[in-house]
Amino acid sequence: MPDDTQHRPELLRGTLDTLILKTLAWGPRHGYGIARWLEDVSDDALRIEEGSLYPALYRLEKRGLVESSWGVSELGRRAKHYELTREGRRHLRQETEQWNRFASLVTQVLATEPAA
């Protein structure tokens, strides 16, 4: 299998947290579910190192943005599920707004052609 990670965009620092929060906006998931969802919606283009999801989840939990509980997975195994807290939802909204503003600014700047 050819190593194609070089052609994939790198995640900006801090964006992983926001993406995870977004993933959970549709309801509780376990870690693998989050990885799969990110893979699906980004067409596998945003391939993150999957292991790094977990420290991020623990970090979010510590900040009170997500909550975890042990439940049963679709295969009947014990699995740890995460869901957004109220605080997490608010945070996601803020981050999304901020991102959109930032992205449009960058787009605007990049779109400006030099006056020849």
Binding site: G31, Y32, A35, E50, G51, Y54, K62, R78, K80
Partner: protein, 885 residues
């Protein structure tokens, strides 16, 4: 990844949740790949690759989760510690030579210090084996004119103290002698025997192991005497039989009834005035205090007392001194010029041990300190050598405390290893110490195992502080600065620190070297003292007739014995003396010369008294200076007795050299009998080569017979070969008499030097170690600075500096440090030596030869240690080093 179920318990709490979660992720991903058609192995590998570093992510999770609950945090911490230790082990394995060096050095330091601490506990701190030992006192008299020195107590004064002192709860007196013991198993032996007054065991507060102690009736019984025996005698002669009470024991030929057995270790060792036949008593007999004691003269009683409740040793001392003043009024002829003291029993025993123990402790602490400095500076330069790695890890997010812990982990691991090894070493040294210690130190200072362990653990803490925590600080500080300034820091301050450590080491080593030189000088001077007798080829042994033997029998017995020993092959001359020189103290008394006015009470001169028989002077090689030795004309029947005096006494009293023929009155034996001086002999050191002899008066055995004499014979044959013949000669005369203390006089002489020789050997060994380590330190620091200054050297050489100048550069630096260390070290050494001056004989703390010799030795060694690596600097190729930068 399969985690073992056998993982230690403390890890489970954290790991189980995190691991379970991550494991599930990997499993699901693997299954997915398998579904795509990959083999299970390949699927698993690919899932792992996609996941990234499992251990790192898991560890991060645990850290993030930390603080959620206490147990979690604690095990996360332990988990990290485990990682740190594993990391450290890997690092150490990579640098095993250095690690082994540091561990070995520290183990040596810890082991030695632990052993000495164990000895100190045994010698100085362990409570004595009596009830409330801190309340026990001893009472001594002292003759002011004789200056220092304590004296046994007169019986009249004892009675006065006992009856009048209110600060004293109870008091007993005793006399230490020895007696021939037969009965039970084995041949007759000479055993230490103690006559004790009523209540002696109650004063000590020791109940008997079997039977009873003495009752007042025991001392007035007329049918037969009673005796209490030691645990040791009970075991050795009676096999520990149950019906020991009531058995009859022949003591000095008379049967005594055994009424009790004392447990081990109750023999009361009084310290300075030891019984001459070993300190532990094997027999105790009742000593009645008769009415005559109140008026008796002479001083021959050792006194032990128990403080009354609520009084202190100072109170008792003041009261005893006061009672003694009244005794001077009551018996002026006997007591004028005398005072009395009460001294805590423990002080009595421990005072003589304090200085040697302090010297030993000081020496071993210096060694430990040097070892720690060495280890610390090795670890320090190692930590600083890891700066790049540490800065990287800090930049990658490792917290300062985590980095600190990693640095600490190495030191702690090394210290722990060293402590374990050190303890092992100490437990090996313990029996060894007991074996190499001189006899009297071994009895009182064989290290106690519990204390060795406790001290080792305590030392480990200190070592961790010095060798783990301290060297981690500069590296952490540098990392912090470097991360802030993003620059590669210089090495200047690191140099300074290392150089300062080497400097401290050298100064400390100097103290030990000076101490060792002074001790070696002391032993050398003591060995070169002419003791006034010939110790080579002289054998001595003791024979004691029973107490109460007729004087005429004493005379004929020793006369016959000397005659028979003289007839043995290889014996050149034979005599007898009551106390062999160097075998402990003997008797002394006051006297006056009859050709001058009677001195005031208490101003009578004092002389040592010895009784001799046969050719004692000739056998011992004591020189006859004037007149004659004793001969058959000095018999019992003479109205005027004969004495031989030592030259010191003769010169003092009759400086014109006309001592022979003069007459004396001596407070000894028949005090009314006039004694004429028939000869003068050379001065003999009686106690030890370090103790100046005083005037000595010799009596002939014929006129003042003694029951116990030591036969001295000059022979080319050794002790071993003489022993059977000597035994059979004595047995032929009287089969009930054991012979004892069969030794060469040479070994007695060496025995008196044993403490000093032991100390000088130990301190010299310590000093050699310290010296070696500090020379290595100087070498190391020079070598390091040469390596680090290559660029500077290259530059200088490119600018025209000659190789010699470059070498000089480094040597000058070391020379400055060494000169400083010499000044500080020598000053400290002189101070330490002053404090310990009582250990030295005829050598001053400021002995110029010693100080200069040590200074030259250290300076020369430092120079060599600096020149060798500095010469490498001169070989630096300037073009090469400059281009490298």
């Amino acid at each position: 990844m399969k985690r073992s179920n056998k993982s230690p318990l403390w890890r489970r709490a954290v790991s189980s949740e995190v691991d379970e979660e991550l494991e599930m992720h990997l499993e699901m991903r693997t299954r997915e790949y398998e579904a795509q058609g990959l083999s299970p192995d390949e699927a698993r590998r690919k899932a792992r690759r996609r996941f990234g570093d499992l251990d790192r992510h898991a560890a991060q999770c645990r850290r993030e989760a930390g603080g959620r609950n206490r147990r979690w945090r604690w095990s996360a911490w332990l988990d990290e510690l485990r990682q740190d230790l594993r990391f450290t082990l890997r690092q150490l394995r990579r640098r095993s030579a250095m690690a082994a060096l540091v561990v070995g050095m520290l183990a040596l330091g810890i082991g030695l210090t632990g052993t000495v601490a164990g000895m100190m506990h045994q010698a100085l701190w362990q409570p004595l084996p009596y009830a409330e030992p801190e309340r026990l006192l001893t009472i001594w008299e002292e003759q002011i004119s004789r200056g220092k020195g304590i004296n046994v107590v007169g019986p009249a004064n004892f009675v006065a103290f006992r009856d009048a002192a209110e600060t004293i709860d109870s008091m007993a007196g005793f006399i230490s002698v020895s007696a021939n013991v037969a009965g039970g198993e084995g041949p007759p032996v000479r055993a230490p025997f103690r006559w004790v007054t009523a209540g002696y065991f109650d004063v000590l507060g020791v109940p008997p192991e079997v039977g009873r102690t003495f009752t007042p009736e025991d001392s007035v019984r007329e049918d037969r005497g009673v005796v209490i025996i030691s645990h040791r005698l009970w075991q050795s002669r009676f096999g520990g039989r149950d019906d020991i009470v009531g058995q009859l024991l022949p003591v000095d030929g008379r049967e005594r009834e055994i009424v009790g057995v004392m447990p081990p270790h109750v023999a009361l060792d009084m310290g300075p005035t030891r019984a001459p036949y070993g300190d532990a008593a094997d027999l105790w007999g009742p000593l009645p205090v008769s009415d005559e004691w109140a008026t008796a003269r002479g001083r021959w009683l050792m006194v032990v007392a128990r403080l009354a409740d609520g009084t202190s040793a100072e109170d008792a001392n003041a009261e005893i001194a006061g009672i003694m003043e009244r005794q001077v009024q009551a018996m002026p002829a006997f007591n004028t010029g005398w005072i009395a003291h009460a001294v805590p029993l423990a002080d009595n025993l421990r005072e003589p041990l304090r200085l040697p123990m302090a010297a030993l402790a000081g020496a071993v602490l210096i060694v430990l300190l040097i070892v720690c400095i060495n280890a610390s500076s090795l670890l320090l330069s190692r930590n600083l050598g890891r700066l790049d790695e540490l800065s990287l890890r800090r930049a990658l997010g490792a917290g300062r405390s985590r980095l600190g812990r990693q640095l600490l982990a190495e030191g702690v691991l090394i210290s722990a290893l060293a402590a374990a090894l050190g303890w092992l070493l100490a437990s090996r040294l313990r029996p060894l110490a007991a074996a190499v210690l001189p006899e009297n130190l071994a009895a009182s200072a064989a290290p106690s195992p519990g204390w060795v362990l406790a001290a080792t653990l305590g030392l480990t803490l200190i070592v961790v502080l010095l060798c783990a925590w301290l060297p981690s600080l500069p590296a952490l500080g540098k990392v912090a600065r470097r991360v802030q300034s993003r620059s590669l820091g210089g090495t200047q301050s690191q140099h300074r620190l290392r150089a300062a450590l080497v400097f401290a080491q050298t100064a400390l080593a100097l103290v030990l070297l000076v101490g060792s030189a002074l001790m070696l000088q002391t032993v050398h001077r003591l060995l070169s003292v002419d003791p006034g007798f010939d110790s080579d080829g002289v054998v001595s042994f003791g024979v004691g007739l029973p107490r109460g033997t007729e004087p005429s029998r004493m005379q004929t017995f020793y006369g016959d014995l000397i005659e028979r020993v003289a007839a043995l092959p290889g014996v050149e001359s034979v005599g007898a003396i009551d106390h062999v020189p160097m075998a402990g103290a003997g008797s002394a008394t006051s006297f006056r010369a009859l050709d001058r006015a009677e001195p005031d009470e208490g101003d009578w001169p004092v002389a040592d008294i010895r009784t001799v028989d046969g050719e004692a002077f000739e056998a011992l090689g004591v020189e006859l200076k004037a007149g004659r030795a004793f001969d058959s004309s000095d018999g019992t029947d003479q109205a005027i007795g004969s004495v031989v005096i030592s030259r010191l006494l003769a010169d003092e009293l009759w400086p014109d050299g006309d001592a022979v023929g003069q007459t004396l009155l001596v407070n000894w034996g028949d005090a009314e009998r006039t004694r004429r001086i028939v000869g003068i002999v050379g001065d003999v050191y009686l106690v030890a080569p370090g103790i100046q002899p005083r005037g000595t008066i010799y009596y002939p055995q014929a006129q003042e017979p003694r029951a116990l004499m030591n036969i001295v014979l000059e022979t080319g044959r050794g002790v071993e070969s003489m022993a059977p013949e000597l035994r059979s000669v004595v047995a032929d005369l009287d089969p009930t008499l054991p012979i004892f203390d069969l030794v060469t006089v040479r070994s007695l002489l060496r025995g008196t030097l044993a403490d000093q020789e032991f100390l000088s050997r130990v301190i010299t060994a310590f000093a050699a170690l310290a010296f070696l380590l500090s020379v290595l330190g100087i070498y190391g620091v020079t070598a390091l600075s040469v390596t680090e200054s290559r660029r500077e050297i290259g530059l200088r050489m490119a600018l025209g500096a000659r190789p010699l100048e470059v070498v000089g550069l480094f040597v000058r630096r070391i020379a400055t440090w060494t000169a400083g260390a010499l000044v500080v070290g020598l000053a400290a050494a002189v101070l330490a030596a002053r404090a310990a001056r009582d250990l030295f004989y005829e050598v001053e703390a400021t002995d110029p030869a010693v100080l200069a010799g040590v200074a030259i030795l250290v300076a020369a060694a430092a120079l060599v240690a600096a020149v060798i690596p500095a010469r490498r600097a001169a070989r630096v190729d300037p073009s090469l080093t400059l281009r490298q930068e």
